[in-house]
């Protein structure tokens, strides 16, 4: 019998940078919705995918993720044609994870139905909070009751894999409100929850208002409490905490697409400001990012120019840094054997020689050949990773 070498796995990401309104805290690239522009943009993405068609063929597609922005602002007729054209170029398997991000206020029953027909099998809802005051502070366009309605519609629709995003550490957020939000979150049979700590990124309205002292940040002690309280609560309800900010109802509901990022998997991103990571046939690890401007992106694709705005080939040091940074986000951590295989005996020896300090001081733990950050130290994980890197 003829044996075929197993195909490598690949994730695909499509960035839809259009929003009805920009949220106060959002640092991702997005612009207001504009139908003419959306049409041109979708054409460009199809073209960009076409350019990578032959590369994609060599892989087994494990996920397709349409993120944003707000992909759900795209009218169904446009989206349908867009997906159909994409599918002509690439082979999305039925068992591939196919996610679309949606905003609670724009998700109608018809939309859900169409998404299912197009092959979407996972929906990620940007709920953020079940408290209207907090939603208003964040500059979200939807209300808590719209979020509830949306989740109820999803249950009815039969889409099994629903994920929601929540944000904590919102200024003036009371502990009881946070408790309410997480209690509410599990009332709608969601399978996956991403919990983010509100961050103040430069360039956002939120950051600007912070520097103008329009509000006070939540103090670290409270944020830390919110984080651990949330973990304890969800775990008690049977959720599996598998990554710093991600929980899943069971192993099969872990986000395949995101796991791929954290596990050094390859992926291609299409559209303005999308990022890609490929290991080429010379075993060079290539990362690149597209230009963060829709007009320029469209122009470049039209003119047969590369939409990249940066590209790098990772050296061993950078690979090591990324590996530790990403792997130690996973609760299970990484296997020392795999580390040895990737980075070689010398670096492994160095790692081992520095481990005592970290293990003695409960900054890392080792169990069954896996090295990970202990649960109670997750909130200072960057500090631990940076310290570890400084020793290697």
């Amino acid at each position: 019998m003829k044996e075929y070498p197993e195909k490598k796995e690949l994730g695909l990401y499509i960035h839809i940078p259009f929003c009805e309104r920009k949220c106060r805290y959002c640092s991702f690239y997005s612009i207001p919705y504009d139908e003419r522009l959306v049409l041109e943009y979708c054409d460009s993405i199809v073209e960009e995918i076409r350019l990578h068609k032959n590369t994609i063929k060599k892989y087994k597609l494990i996920s397709l993720y349409i993120g944003g922005g707000t992909p759900s602002v795209i009218p169904l007729n446009i989206l349908t044609e867009f997906i159909v054209r994409i599918k002509k170029n690439i082979n999305i398997l039925n068992k591939s994870e196919f996610t679309i991000e949606v905003n609670p206020n724009t998700l109608t029953e018809r939309k859900i139905k169409t998404y299912r027909e197009l092959g979407v099998n996972r929906i990620s809802v940007g709920v953020q909070s079940f408290n209207d005051t907090e939603l208003k502070f964040l500059g979200r366009i939807h209300t808590a009751s719209q979020a509830v309605d949306c989740l109820k519609r999803l249950i009815k629709s039969g889409i099994d894999n629903v994920s929601i995003d929540l944000i904590y550490g919102i200024p003036e957020q009371k502990l009881e409100n946070w408790a309410n939000t997480i209690r509410e979150a599990i009332s709608y049979n969601v399978k996956h929850i991403s919990v983010y700590n509100l961050s103040y990124d430069k360039g956002t309205k939120l950051f600007e208002d912070l520097t103008k002292n329009k509000f006070k940040k939540v103090n670290f002690i409270k944020e830390e409490f919110m984080f651990f309280f949330m973990l304890a609560f969800f775990k008690e309800k049977g959720f599996l905490h598998y990554e710093i900010s991600s929980l899943a109802k069971s192993e099969k509901y872990r986000s395949k697409h995101n796991l791929n990022y954290w596990q050094d998997g390859e992926y291609l991103g299409f559209g303005a400001s999308a990022h890609s990571y490929l290991i080429d046939n010379k075993n060079c690890h290539q990362r690149w990012g597209n230009i963060s401007n829709v007009d320029k992106y469209i122009d470049r694709i039209k003119n047969n120019e590369s939409p990249k705005c940066f590209a790098e080939t990772l050296n061993n040091d950078e690979l090591l840094r990324e590996y530790l940074m990403l792997r130690l986000r996973l609760i299970e951590g990484f296997s020392l054997r795999e580390f040895d295989r990737i980075f070689g005996a010398e670096i492994k020896r160095k790692l081992i020689s520095k481990l005592d300090f970290f293990i003695d001081n409960c900054l890392l733990q080792e169990s069954g050949g896996m090295l990970s950050i202990p649960n109670n130290r997750l909130f200072v994980s960057n500090e631990i990773i940076a310290l570890l890197l400084s020793k290697l």
């Binding site: 990022y261 960057n382 990773i385 940076a386 890197l389 400084s390």
Partner: protein
């Protein structure tokens, strides 16, 4: 060329009085440096020198000048550093000259280093040409400063040269007076060779390059030379004179200044101040050399990562090649591991070495609190010297501790006398006398412990006199003082590298201030950090840094890994600069905290 046509001179001045700018003008005027290579401070080849606008090393260059008398002359200019730390380098340069230009900034007047450099020049029996610079500045008081200068030097006003190096005024007059007033070297080519090494540098390809002044005899390629001190012999590869580059010449004759290359691999073999002679036909006596310099400030330099110890040794050895005044020997610290105890001429010198190590050799370093050298009389009658506070023996074994003292002088406006007196007292100084240089300007003489003067005294002095003060000092000897060792404990463990020796009367207050300063400087980390200051077993102060609560990247999706990795890289680099002591990471600044506290 006959020695009658040679002039060897130096420029001396208080720091910032325009020495390097004047040198630039002389080089420009005589076309010594091609226009395309001319830049500001052209003689200062180290980046650090240009950035800080100071001269650290002395430099030499040969100038050809066609004088008004129709003859051409060779002028050898030896540039000197102006900062008090580098007095040693100045005296080295002066030994190679017959005369000096004494520069005084017309907007600043006579300053402390003007006086001390003048002493050095008089000691070396050199002809002094007074030059008033920056006469074009609006703030200049040319006539008053000119009068002061004439009075100081006992010269007539017309012997004073007025210049503005920026405007190029007076350049020719200076060149002419160098020829008319500075005597040519007295020399005889037929005598046995005696050449003074006044500086040296290390070149990776050619080995040690000796900067020398030939006093008697001559030297050429192929000669076998011998050093008086070591007795080592070398065959001369090349001799020549100094432009911006090395210009090979047939020989170097008596009276000339130039360089010698002789395949010398170790800088120690060509000691600055040593005399070179011909091996086959040696002179009987060396030239008067220099007194051996003594480091004034000691500090431990430790790599933040112990694995870099050998790299640090390597880097220090390389720096020493071009800086004979740097002293270092290995030492160990319980807290910091393996490192080097280094001796420096002063704080600026220490600063420069630290910066060169980090900039030119990429070293991540911890420098411990600088200190002076102490003498300790033990009850056994033994006397020991310590250059590291943590080596201070148990107080019960000590009979007395002696510390170095200096004689110092401050020049300032008389309106600040009160402030200055107060500062002197606070620094355990003993006032001697005051002299009026003119009705508004005074010179205050006092003695004080070196440790009180050498660190932040000058900054303090500047701030209490609105910048109108200059300081100079020289070491006089050791005297007993009531000193104690102040220890710092981090999480209950003493950190030897943070210990300091201070006067008993100040110990309590310093302990408190040091603790709160450390609390500011030590960043929050994964554990709570307890800081205590103790004298012997008695804790005099404590404070604490709370544990870090949060450092986590909330969002990490979308595949944009690069930005996050770079953030982490920055954090990592920050950590690399810190030293792990127990489970605490101490930043470099923490080891210098004691310099940052209010000393009074």
């Amino acid at each position: 060329m006959h020695t009658a046509r040679i002039r060897n001179f130096s420029i001396i001045a208080h720091i910032d009085h325009g020495k390097s700018t004047l040198a630039d003008r002389l080089l420009e005027y005589t076309h010594t440096v091609p226009d395309r290579r001319m830049e500001e401070q052209v003689l200062d080849s180290m980046d650090l020198e240009r950035e800080r606008g100071i001269t650290i090393k002395s430099h030499a260059i040969r100038i050809d000048y066609n004088a008004k008398d129709g003859k051409s002359y060779i002028l050898n200019l030896i540039d000197t550093p102006g900062h008090v730390d580098f007095t040693y380098e100045v005296s080295r340069s002066l030994a190679a000259c017959e005369g000096v230009l004494l520069l005084v900034d017309a907007s600043q007047g006579i300053e402390a280093q003007t006086i001390s450099n003048l002493y050095l020049a008089l000691e070396a029996n050199l002809t002094i040409i007074p030059v008033l610079t920056k006469i074009d500045l609006p703030a200049s008081n040319t006539s008053l400063v000119g009068e002061e200068l004439c009075e100081l030097l006992d010269v007539l006003p017309d012997e004073l040269i007025l210049t503005s190096a920026k405007e190029g005024i007076g350049t020719e007059e200076i060149l002419e007076s160098i020829i008319s007033r500075i005597p040519p070297p007295v020399a005889d080519d037929n005598d046995k060779l005696r050449a003074l090494i006044f500086d040296s540098m290390y070149n990776t390809y050619r080995g040690v390059i000796i900067y020398t002044r030939v006093f008697e005899g001559s030297v050429k390629a192929g000669d076998i030379i011998k050093f008086f001190t070591s007795g080592n012999r070398y065959e001369v590869d090349e001799v020549g004179y100094l432009r911006l580059d090395f210009i090979p010449a047939k020989d170097l004759q008596a009276g000339e200044v130039g360089y010698i290359i002789a395949n010398i691999k170790r800088i120690e073999d060509a000691k600055v101040g040593d005399t070179i002679t011909q091996a086959e036909d040696p002179a009987t006596k060396p030239l008067p050399g220099y007194r051996d310099f003594k480091p004034m400030v000691y500090s431990g330099l430790y790599p933040t990562d112990n694995d870099d110890f050998e790299d640090l040794r390597d880097a220090l050895s390389k720096l020493k090649l071009n800086d004979a005044s740097l002293f270092f020997e290995p030492e160990t610290s319980v807290a910091l591991g393996f490192g080097f105890r280094c001796g420096f001429l002063g704080m600026l010198h220490l600063d420069i070495i630290k910066e060169r190590l980090s900039r030119e050799y990429g070293m991540n370093l911890i420098a411990t609190v600088p200190n002076v050298e102490y003498r300790v009389d033990l009850k056994t009658g033994e006397e020991i010297t310590i250059d590291n506070p943590s080596m201070l023996p148990d107080p019960v074994r000590i009979d007395a501790i002696e510390e170095p003292f200096v004689e110092a002088e401050i020049i300032t406006d008389n309106e600040f006398i009160g402030n200055v007196m107060q500062l002197i007292m606070q620094r355990r100084g003993e006032y001697k006398t005051t002299e009026y240089i003119d009705p508004a300007k005074v010179m205050i003489y006092f003695t004080a412990p070196l440790s009180e003067i050498i660190f932040d005294f000058f900054d303090k002095l500047k701030s209490i006199t609105k910048g109108y003060a200059s300081l100079d000092y020289k070491f006089t000897g050791y005297k007993p003082s009531d000193l104690v060792k102040l220890d710092i404990l981090i999480n209950d463990d003493p950190v030897d590298a943070l210990s300091s020796i201070i006067h008993r009367d100040k110990s309590y207050l310093w302990g408190q201030r040091l603790c709160s300063k450390l609390r500011e400087l030590i960043p929050r980390q994964l554990f709570e950090v307890k800081i205590q200051a103790a004298i012997g077993a008695r804790v005099v102060s404590k404070s604490k840094v709370h544990a870090l609560r949060k450092n986590v990247t909330a969002k990490c999706y979308g595949g944009d890994i690069t930005r996050k990795r770079k953030l982490l890289e920055q954090q990592k680099e920050g950590k690399k600069k810190m030293k792990q002591v127990g489970n605490v990471s101490l930043p470099q600044e923490a080891f210098f905290a004691i310099l940052e506290i209010e000393k009074v």
